[in-house]
Amino acid sequence: MPKGYAGKILEIDLSSENIKEIKIDKDILRQYIGGRGLATKILWDRLGNRWEEIDPLGPENLLLMLTGPLTGFVPGGRICISGKSPQSNGIVGSTVGGEFPIDLKCAGYDGIIFTGTAEKPTYLFIKDSDVELKDASHVWGKGAKETLLTLVREARRELENRYRGRGIWREPSALYIGPAGENLCRTAAVVSKWVHAAGYGGYGAVMGSKNLKAVLVKGTGPLPEVHDMEETLKFINEIVEINLGKDMFRRWGTGSAGYTVGAELSSEPVMNWQEEWHNEESFGVDKFELFWIKRFWGDFGCPITCLKLSVINSGPFKGAITDNPDYENQAYLGTNLGVFNADANIYLTALADELGFCGIQVGNVLAFTAELYQRGILTKEDLGFELKWGDAKAFATLLRMIARREGIGDILAEGTYRAALKISEMKGVDVTKYAITVKGVAVGAHGIRSGKDYPHYASYPCSVQGGDHTSVAYVPIDHGNSELRAILYDSGVVCWFNFFDVKAQEALWNLLNAVTGWEITPEEWFSTISRRILNIQRTVLLLGGPDLKWNPKIHDDIPPRWYEPLTRGPYAGKIVEKAKIQESIKEYYKAIGWDENGIPLSEELKRLGLEDVDKKLEQIRQSTK
């Protein structure tokens, strides 16, 4: 077993309640690392043959929670949640912060694989090697706050009874879902610490489909042994030191961007991306600071603490608790809804957290719905109330309806793209042009029209995770923003925010080898390891099914809205030309080893040792000819 790993993975069959430990071959670990990479390998091996038939919300899907060798060593705990995505029908590696992965590795496990479906609401409780499935009926239907406090309280009592006289037990770490996940909303997240979410991918719904409300873990051992402790600490400290130097990022996190991505970059969604520029000082970081001066808030080992504890203690939004919010939630539950005041944005973000939504995915649905209301396609009769831009209370009502699948909420719970297909059919007018998604995944809050933000023309169309702004395609493929780097972070599994600095990026390679004892070079990573993972992800994304399939000729594209010019701000009138997008996409295909139709080349797959993937792709190659 290479170093840095606990060495075992828990496999829990929820249908039979069978619990076992499995080991992953060391060569597989060297090739797929952990997290997103290992999830891709496991999913391909187990489901690849019949990928198109597997219902992401059916018992055959797997739910994976995987750490990587660097988890716990790189500052800030992160774990990767994966499975067949109910958004893209491919594989999304969706990471979430918190101490859960630290506790899991300290309990002796690198990850958990869930198969099957539990008969009744269930949660898993792990205390080192004691692993138990328990009844979760009493917290089913409950929101984040009550779910977490109840389960943690019960678990601590149980530990104190089980181990009398050993002192006070710390809380176990937890991952859980809210009502959104229980009700199979495709925009549901897997959540930790009330406010952190594995949002992209929709794995809250997968967890809900398995009747799995939560996983709690307390590990009392040390983190796994490393290959070279002295070197490991040297590179950890290097990364820490670099990030401790980032004064304003530490102070503001991404929470200053709700103002500046609009005002400075013109790439922030405003009213369902009808605009990307705003200059609303009411949405400035100074206004948010009034609420989050309570506390800075970091996960395990984090030198940055980009998140802060925001609490509203008075006024109409009293009782709202969330983190910051971070930029994505500021945009998607703020500006994109025409909400330009900090307290309303905090309120909506706190509600999304409480219900167990991904703020990006569900925020995208809310804005889509509001635009249909603006255009008179959906009316007061359809919704039951008026839905005007900026009306936080109305958006809150809609959020609750989606979480419970009430009224129009039942359609909207399917996520923007699927809801757009249904509403188009219902109303007899094409509303998919108002869906700001790529391959079923709502795009992150970084537009491309001004050309000032980091995503480029091919970034979203060619991403193997659809609209995921943390995993964008890029040429050159070893660029700082490249998807191949995202695969490293998500497979490590580490927090990307440590690595904005080039020196920190360099330290990461050294740390990877100091921890594992491997000698992985950037060259090997970019030419081989990451490409294997990327190509399997691309393959299953193209296979898709059972409800939707993506044709690269149609769906390797930006959302239709982005072909419209911006009409406000310094970039008003600027047009993104279809020909330029096509050109960028072709350039990426070539750089990454895909054919002109966007399908991984046979010789490229053979070079990577992925003959079985190549064989499976043959049917798609035939159909696109």
Partner: protein, 175 residues
Amino acid sequence: MSSSGLIWIYRNYLNCSGCRRCEIVCSLSHEGKIWPEASRIRIFMLIPGIEIPHLCAQCHDYPCVSACPVEALSISKETGAVLVDKEKCTACGRCIEACPGNIPFIHPSDNYAVICDLCGGDPECVKACKEGGWNALQLVKRESDYNFKLYAKTPDRITKELAARIYGEEIAEAI
């Protein structure tokens, strides 16, 4: 016992970011490993957003030391820290009961009570906290004072008090 040279770790709960770098450096220094549950300082998060650094408060009357039936605990003349003799300690847990904050705990893999030893006078946790700019932990000169004992409280109690202030009574009562 002279009070000159004695130290204390002042704790400001509101400043704690919950980053737990104190646990990392503490366990590295005492165990040679990153081992959160063996760290002499433990950050409790019984309610999200309410992180509580929990470590020995070196009470003026050291109830843990007098409660030990096998004289495994002693007081460092240099720092005022409680020192645990691992050989003598039987992990009976009397020190935990005697502590008003139930702060000691039994080591997760060995049979002895874990209590902060102030790193012999230069605590690693304080350095990490200071480096991070949090100053939730600060090294101060210890004076002979009953006040230090007031910090020996259970994490549950501190959490309740802090959560009531930050979130309100309802959430505070839920732990």
